[in-house]
């Protein structure tokens, strides 16, 4: 490939101070993103999965410069986002948009949804003011709503409708990247299906790159081209979707996959691997951060943190066990022999 990637994230770190008490004294730090590097090409969808609180949203927000990293950089459309002036950044913003998990929370309750969608055009000063309203009506049709829906307030719409409008709001700027932060987690299955279908249609039509954050593996499998698995600030495994789901290499990925309840009644009594309680994010174990929950953990895991090693087939994993053994995608319970 000669073209540079659309998005190139390099050694990104984001730390949050932990504030406590009335005066918010800083008592420690959470490394929400702890050295993440990844790339995303035009029109590609990267799924980002992982446990709640592992830093998916933070990563998503940082790559579109809604959050300053404490280290590392993000190149977007060949520009270092954090080296831009605010006017330049504003221009870049047009091309990187965001959709949130909770559609109800991401609309200003005091504006009609039409005006919320139009706001992007107004701010970015796209189109002639007289054409903007028409453009909004058009994008409403595009996401499967009637233009008349523009005049409603968020509370007058259902969650599914609002999520469509959320997509419309991002789409109207004709972005090249949309970060979707759990866009369907708050919706029930039937509405979720509507939104996922809509997204995959639009993705094709607009040559959109998506960074699709979710903890629902099935959803990610459905929409993503590649999937990254995150565990407490790090990417522990990254691979093309099919490869990841058919032959997961990191024990955490496998545990995740095993925990997803299937609708297959025959397997309802299958034992589910116990992972133990999640660690305190401010106080992760030394060495491999997964080791205290890992059935494969051995001495080396406590000594040093494994780094993400990408094989030729594009399948990357950060695990000592995966490196030292020839991992085949056997069931996890059987893979404990490395201990």
């Amino acid at each position: 490939m000669s073209l540079p990637p659309l998005l190139d994230v390099n050694g990104l770190h984001v730390r949050y101070p932990i504030r406590k008490g009335l005066f918010g004294g800083v008592v420690g730090h959470v490394s929400a993103v702890d050295g993440v590097s990844l790339t995303l090409n035009r029109g590609e969808t990267l799924g980002l999965v992982g446990e709640s609180g592992c830093g998916k949203s933070t990563l998503g927000r940082t790559v579109i410069a809604l959050q300053r990293p404490s280290a590392g950089n993000v190149r977007f459309r060949n520009q270092d986002l954090f080296a831009l002036s605010s006017a330049e950044l504003k221009q870049q913003r047009r091309f990187a948009q965001l959709i949130f998990q909770n559609p109800r929370a991401c609309f200003d309750p005091r504006r009609t949804v039409g005006s919320s969608v139009r706001m992007g055009l107004d701010i970015q000063e796209l189109l002639d003011p007289s054409e903007r309203e028409e453009a909004v009506a058009g994008i409403f049709r595009k996401v499967g709503l009637r233009p008349e829906h523009r005049f409603r307030y968020p509370h007058e719409l259902s969650g599914g409708q609002l999520q469509r409008i959320g997509i419309a709001r991002a789409l109207i700027l004709k972005p090249s990247l949309i970060v979707c932060d759990e866009p369907v987690s708050a919706l029930d299955v039937s509405v979720q299906a509507q939104i996922l279908n809509l997204l995959s249609d639009l993705k094709a039509e607009f040559e959109l790159a998506l960074l699709f954050v979710s903890h629902n593996l099935a959803v990610v499998e459905y929409i993503a081209d590649r999937v990254a698995v995150m565990y407490y600030g790090r990417i522990v495994e990254i691979a093309p979707t099919h490869a990841l789901f058919s032959s997961p290499r990191h024990p955490y990925t496998r545990a995740l996959l095993a925990a997803v309840p299937t609708m297959d009644i025959a397997r309802r009594d299958d034992p589910v691997p116990r992972l133990g309680d999640p660690p305190d994010p401010a106080n992760l174990p030394t060495g491999c951060r997964f080791r205290n929950r890992c059935p494969l953990a051995f001495a080396r895991c406590a000594e040093a943190e494994p780094s993400l090693v990408t094989a030729k087939d594009g399948h990357g994993v950060a695990c000592w066990a995966a490196e030292s053994a020839s991992i085949d995608a056997g069931p996890m319970t059987a893979a404990a022999s490395n201990g």
């Binding site: 008490g21 009335l22 005066f23 004294g25």
Partner: protein
């Protein structure tokens, strides 16, 4: 915890210095000083002018305000609040007993306000939209809408002149009853409203629903589950109210001849007795700040989500 308190106390320093600075700036802006004001209406001639000059020099009133400020702060460091020009005695002597009076009055009225405000607020919330709620709310609004002196005089009329159960002229401990009630009832009104709306708010929370689902009786729900939560907000309001009580009770203090610093404050300003005004401001501000510190600590104690960290 101790560290936290120290840190909080240190935070008070800029506030206190700010207050001091502001008052000195104000002093520079106020168009008279105590000496001139004291010789008001005395038949003034050249000699009076000389007396004024003498006194002004004695109290450094002839210096620019910032020099006065440094002198004052210097004295303050040594625990010297200065001397009241009007009263010709150390400010502390006058403020001392009045401060005690004010604290007594504030404390008692606060107790009354809390008892009245909480019971009516909780009752109103528990019996929401019944006549009881309407009555409590109306009476509460009545308290808020009533000028203090008007209310004070009515209390005297009823309890002292008609019923003759309490003295008009303050003597002994009985003297505190009427002013404490006057203040307490007035302050109870906003407390009652806050308690009511917070109780209503808390009673709508999921954990109350969950507790009800566990078979808790309504009484237990209100007192054991909801009240501790509602109290948290009430506490903040109380902390703020104490500020009002400290300085704002002057009308009640005047009417009931309860000689606290509120009454003194008004006089001190009218006398342009700066050392006195200054000390009152300082001491009320300090009290306010410390009480709010205590309130915050209590807040952290009531609300485990808040942690005191230094």
């Amino acid at each position: 915890m101790a560290q936290y308190v120290v840190r909080r106390l240190l935070l008070l320093v800029p506030v206190v210095i700010g207050i001091l600075l502001i008052t000195f700036l104000m002093k520079a802006l106020i168009p008279t000083d105590a000496v001139t004001a004291m010789y008001q209406g005395q038949l003034s001639e050249k000699e009076a002018a000389q007396a004024i000059a003498t006194l002004r020099a004695k109290y450094h009133l002839d210096l620019p305000w910032y020099q006065q400020f440094f002198i004052y702060v210097g004295d303050l460091m040594q625990g010297d609040f200065g001397e009241s020009i009007r009263l010709r005695k150390p400010v502390i002597d006058e403020i001392g007993y009045r401060y005690v009076n004010t604290i007594l009055l504030t404390a008692l009225s606060l107790v009354i306000a809390l008892v009245l405000g909480l019971t009516t607020g909780i009752l109103a919330a528990a019996r929401r939209n019944t006549w009881l709620d309407v009555t409590a709310t109306t009476v509460g609004l009545f308290g808020i809408s009533m000028p203090a002196f008007f209310f004070g005089l009515l209390l005297i009329l009823v309890f002292s002149v008609w019923l003759r159960i309490l003295p008009v002229v303050p003597h002994g401990w009985m003297a505190i009853i009427l002013p404490a009630f006057a203040l307490g009832i007035i302050e109870a009104a906003p407390l009652s409203q806050v308690a009511r709306s917070n109780m209503i708010d808390v009673m709508r929370r999921d954990y109350i629903l969950a507790a009800r689902a566990r078979g808790q009786s309504e009484t237990a729900l209100i007192f054991r589950h909801a009240l501790p939560n509602a109290l948290i907000v009430v506490l903040t309001v109380v902390g703020l109210q104490i500020g009002n009580l400290l300085g704002g009770a002057f009308i009640v203090e005047t009417i009931f001849s309860w000689h606290g610093i509120g009454e003194l404050a008004v006089n001190a300003i009218q006398w342009r007795d700066f050392a006195l005004t200054q000390a009152i401001i300082l001491i009320s501000a300090a009290t306010y700040l410390i009480i709010n510190l205590v309130a915050d600590i209590m807040y952290a104690w009531l609300d485990p989500r808040v942690e005191l960290v230094s």
